[in-house]
Chain length 418, copies 2
């Protein structure tokens, strides 16, 4: 079959499954999730064997050690995949939730009710656990999912997909609720991006290049996750011990992720007391510090931060530091150089904290807490399918609710318009 | 200046204005709206004179009578424009509204707060009142707006834009909160669609061709409004007098709009009692009826409905009628042929009504009320900037809330991640 026809056939099957999924009870969706988790555990040997094929050819393809590590399954990771699916069972079903109700002067009772989006396509890279994570979130939210993983995880993704589809059939859900795209033809991604008639949303998960490619070529709406240039602002009224703990955690605990701090902004009134100590601690953890002139005047051996540093998402043990005159200057810096992802203020002044929260429009704005909490699990969404850095549809971590839309419903007793 | 550079300059100015708008108090935004309404009234003569230039050349361009009517301003329409702006003053400001709050086991207080989207581009056709409507909704929701109207309303749109910008300056809001694109170069629309760095959302308002063009060519997210193939289903338990009133209103009261009924579905148990009378009434109002075989067996002179009729958005005094075996068949018909816009069930059985509401996922699902109520004003949103028929970001009429996004906010007391 030609690639274009294959893509359309996948889209049609997904659309049909979505119709059936929208009607499923919470109970049946939960039973399907339990069957999925049980299937992943029961078929562990099969999954590891298929994964070994991918890992085996990964070396030949010249993939990096980090990519091979992300690709590799072992019994612990398979168990974690099953546990992740079971976690979704306990979350509230967003579908048919009434989010608001009101009455009109003519007696009409109006409300808004959550409904599934319909069909969601996920385009992702090396991690095979995304297959199970995304499929289970889509099942719970009543959406059919089309999963297009990277060719380096081809056997693993197909095997996980087979197990999840078996679970759907076993529990009485539509088999095509979950489809793993087998084709590794480069043209397939292009065809998937054209399925506007069948697909409601595309979520690309991977590097910036992949996301920009999908956004530029898709006829289907795309939720984008670009970079996270996250800031911590230490205010003149900050508890400086707390500020040090938060700064260290935000930079060092896991520097390679999008919600790690990249730039530290410090009020000039506390910079002389705060910066020497915190920079010492950061260096003890292996962090290279680049600073503005004021920072360099306060601490020895800080290399100069250039204009490009304020824009940079290092994703590494590197930090840019800038001394600012006040909170206004900190907010200006964030607006100029930030990526609308995550910002923290450390201050004991509740008024300033509320002002910062009101004025900074990043996807998460925190007071006296590490930037690392901008994560679906940590914020209490239960799980996340991704983080959106664009404001359309969803902004920040996307959980089950963000995989739904809302419809209006109206109860009348014969009203007509004049 | 080249068109591409002009577009980028417009985008930059809008982005800058958006930063200032996000900080404005509700009071200042309301004062700006009051100044806008006052300006429209005070400058009526200027607006009518500029409008006369457009209307004068409309004949030369061979525009239809209907288009010229939509284009024409008169004192009543100018007064209505000012009144429409004043209506927005009374609506609640969605910005900084906290939509939800919860607490995490580690003590973090988490919530979601509404924020402006940022910059919105509206691309529209002949009606100059859209300029004032869209600008006032964007002002209240804290968004900067780029308005690209049709060349046939060039002088009118520019004049309205000038008056609104004067009002912004007078009230202390940024002048570039409202920009009317003067260029009528065809290439300008293409350039506006590329401004992903500066624009958050594009709303095209006009015919399906315009909307498809924008959706296919835009790098910026687009809210789409395709056709409305709206259904009324008359159930076996319907009050047939009510069903007749609703059917007539849905078809006849204003047949040219998207929320008018296009197909009437009737339960076979009541079809013999219901159809002859309602079809008589419809014909008295000038409606041409096309029906399925069962309909034709019950009523004389009904022409046969073909497959294409079930898909058709007539926007005219034409109606397709089909007799169905039960509610399931009605829902199947709606899923097969509907456009996810508006559907009504007429029934006295509350259980069936709730089942219909739960299972039909159109943007508005009504019980015992005319389809014509799917409208921002009628549903109580105060005003609407458009109706979305896609489920991403907003579904159905879009009011002020739908012109916002939400951010997460977090108050902690020093929490860090382990």
């Amino acid at each position: 079959m030609a690639v274009a026809e294959e893509a359309i056939a996948i889209g049609r099957r997904a659309r049909e499954a979505a119709g059936a999924l929208a009607d499923l009870s919470t109970e049946l969706k939960n039973q399907t999730l339990v069957a999925m988790a049980g299937g992943i555990e029961a078929r562990q040997e099969f999954l590891l064997a298929e994964n070994a094929k991918d890992v085996g050819s990964a070396g030949d393809k010249g993939l990096s050690k980090a990519v091979i590590d992300r690709l590799t399954l072992n019994p612990q990771r398979v168990a974690a995949m099953a546990a992740g699916i079971r976690d979704i069972v306990a979350l509230p079903d967003p579908v048919r939730q009434v989010t608001r109700k009101w009455q009109r002067p003519n007696g009409l009772e109006v409300g808004k009710m959550r409904i599934p989006l319909g069909v969601i396509t996920i385009i992702y890279e090396a991690r095979p656990n995304v297959t199970a994570d995304a499929a289970s979130l889509c099942m719970k939210s009543g959406n059919a999912v089309i999963l297009k993983g990277g060719s380096e995880a081809k056997f693993s993704n197909q095997a996980i997909g087979d197990v999840l589809r078996e679970a759907c059939v076993q529990a009485g859900a539509p088999e095509d609720a979950v489809q793993v795209v087998g084709s590794t033809d480069r043209a397939m991604i292009h065809e998937l991006l054209k399925l506007e008639e069948y697909v409601d949303l595309i979520i690309p998960r991977g590097g910036e290049e992949l996301i920009r490619f999908v956004a530029a070529n898709s006829l289907v709406p795309v939720v984008k996750h670009y970079k996270g240039v996250c800031h911590v602002y230490v205010d003149s009224d900050a508890d400086l011990d707390m500020a040090e703990r938060i700064s260290l955690n935000a930079k060092v605990q896991r520097p390679s992720v999008c919600n790690a701090m990249e730039t530290l902004l410090v009020h000039e009134a506390v910079a002389p007391r705060f910066l020497p100590g915190v920079i010492d601690r950061l260096r003890e953890s292996g962090v290279e510090v680049r600073g503005c002139e004021k920072t360099r005047a306060l601490v020895d051996g800080v290399s100069p931060a250039r204009e490009a540093d304020w824009h940079e998402e290092y994703l590494d043990l590197v930090l840019a530091v800038r001394v600012v005159a006040d909170m206004d200057e900190a907010i200006e810096h964030i607006r100029e150089y930030g990526s609308d992802h995550t910002e923290t203020i450390v201050t004991a002044d509740r008024g300033k904290a509320e002002d910062f929260v009101a004025r900074v429009n990043s996807s998460a704005v925190l007071v006296n807490a590490s930037t690392r909490f901008n994560d679906g699990g940590e914020l209490g969404l239960g799980a996340e399918i991704g983080i959106s850095t664009s404001k359309i549809h969803a902004f920040g971590p996307m959980g089950l609710e963000e995989l739904t839309s809302t419809k209006f419903f109206v109860f009348g007793d014969g009203q007509v318009r004049n």
